[in-house]
């Protein structure tokens, strides 16, 4: 479990996270939802230790995040950020290979190469493995970064708007992979989602944020109601059921 308690983050007198206390359950898919600018990316960054909170702490499996050795943390948690960028001009297979760094420190074994090959296959990148990242479309690049995080093989996987550039097929296949990793691989996933239908279809747990605060959180089926979601996004949203599946209607 990831335990966030009284987390605040301030830059230049601007309170971006305001006293956030919430729990992200182990072995589930948690959807982090909320309007633009709610602070979802910032919260994810704080959990991944990419930024230092002004107040409060994050505990992962009971251990204070700041106490964990960076190399150990890299084996326990991987993140795919919203802004995908690396400094070097690099090929897809090499990027994915960096996912093995925490385990092999750059000396890839046969097992590492097998893991890389598997990730390339899973994210439909085999045909692209020799391309440079800047020769890819947005969605392909997104998949390369997802494959890298997947290769890192961590207990926790944090994904910031991973569906952003993906087409229908790859979006569904990503969510199915996440489901499988959680159900059969013992992993835990936290994912920022904008499409409520994906949230309703795949997430076990929801954390809803607005203006730097948690508005509500809990099991998806209990908390993702028409009233709660309409209030969260400040626009009318209707949650209905069809063939035992839940849908959000907000298109017109």
């Amino acid at each position: 479990m990831i335990d966030v308690s009284h987390l605040s983050y301030v830059i230049a007198d601007h309170q971006i996270l305001n006293d956030i206390t919430t729990q992200l359950p182990r072995n589930q898919i948690t959807a982090l939802i909320g309007p633009n600018g709610a602070g979802k990316s910032t919260l994810l960054g704080a959990i991944a230790r990419q930024l230092t909170p002004s107040v409060g702490e994050v505990r992962i499996g009971g251990e204070n995040l700041t106490q964990i050795d960076p190399q150990v943390l890299a084996k326990r948690m991987a993140i795919v950020a919203q802004q995908l960028h690396v400094g070097s001009r690099i090929r897809v297979a090499d990027l994915v290979g960096f996912g093995r760094w925490p385990h092999s420190q750059g000396r890839l074994s046969a097992a590492d190469n097998a893991a890389i090959s598997d990730a390339l296959k899973r994210f439909d990148l085999t045909a692209l493995h020799h391309r440079f990242l800047d020769e890819l479309s947005g969605g392909q690049r997104q998949r390369a970064f997802l494959a890298m995080a997947y290769t890192q093989d961590t207990d926790w996987l944090l994904l910031d708007e991973p569906l952003n550039n993906l087409d229908l097929k790859h979006a569904r296949s990503l969510m199915a992979h996440l489901r499988q990793m959680v159900d059969h691989g013992g992993k835990s996933v936290v994912v920022v989602l904008h499409d409520l239908n994906f949230t309703l279809a795949w997430a076990d747990h929801v954390v809803a944020m607005r203006a730097g605060q948690v508005v509500f959180s809990g099991p998806t089926t209990e908390v993702a109601t028409s009233i709660a979601l309409s209030d969260l996004y400040q626009t009318e949203i209707e949650v209905t059921s069809l063939n035992d599946r839940r849908f959000a209607l907000y298109h017109r």
Binding site: A48, R49, P70, A81, I90, L108, I116, T126
Partner: protein, 333 residues
Amino acid sequence: MHDISLPAPPAYRGNSPHPLTNRHLWALALALVVACGVFLFWGGGWQSSYILQLRLVKLGGLLCVGASVGVATVLFQTLTNNRILTPAIMGFDALFLLMKTVLVFFSTALSLQFWDNTTVFLGDTAMMIGATMAIFAAVLRRARHDIQLLVLVGVIFGLLFRTITGFLQRLLDPSEFAMLQADMFAQFGGIDRDALTIAATLMGALFIWLAGSHRRLDVLALGRNSAQSLGLRYDRLQLQVLAAIAVLVSVSTALVGPLAFLGLLVSALTHSLMRSHRHGLLLPAAALIACLILVTGQTLFERILNLQSSLAVVIEFCGGLLFLTLLARGKIK
């Protein structure tokens, strides 16, 4: 995901073969060995051990300078995440000359005349490391994502350092000035044997460190967030790399003087030849290419054209032209 049967894509055959299996590196090494042989023996080298000795010192100087310029440039570009800027363009060698001038300026107070060459050189280098860190912390760290701003900062710093250096030198007395004069312009002629020994020792130590760290540099090059989430201690490595650059710039500037555009020329050639992000390949390639340019260039100018001191000018001209071309093509964004 497997609905349409397309022709099978090229299979993924595993990553990162060992640098020693790279053909390009072996070809470069071979070419360099040949170039060194020609430099040493062509034109009467085998007849007189005196000439041979002189040439050996000169060759050692060229190799030290080449290796340090090549490696420093690649390291700097990794640190700043771009392929245009070099330590020299950012005014690092002007900074070294400033540090040296400052040291000479206070030489009477520091009783510098009683120091031996090694101590003076190490003093210069230590001051250089300190000054580089200070400047990096103050400016480069923040401006890193804005290359145009970085170029501007570099030009202004270079100008500032040179101006202060010039001002201080005017206040020196002639004997003190003589201690500096040889260092102010690129000169492959009179390489000092003591300086060469220290330089080679420092570089040897540094290269041993690099041989053990080149994989971490690959991660560093990904940028702060990615590197940290892979478990790299980014800030620590960044400072170590910066110190390494400062040492390398000190070495090459102390040996032959400032070379503004050699690094740029070398890094452009290195990237177009190696097409890799791996420092295990980039660092040796850059060092070999720089050495090759210097040794063949010097052979050409000294033995064929009989122009003792124009190599630096020509290299600077070509490198400067390349820099302008890159600027004009909008590669500097």
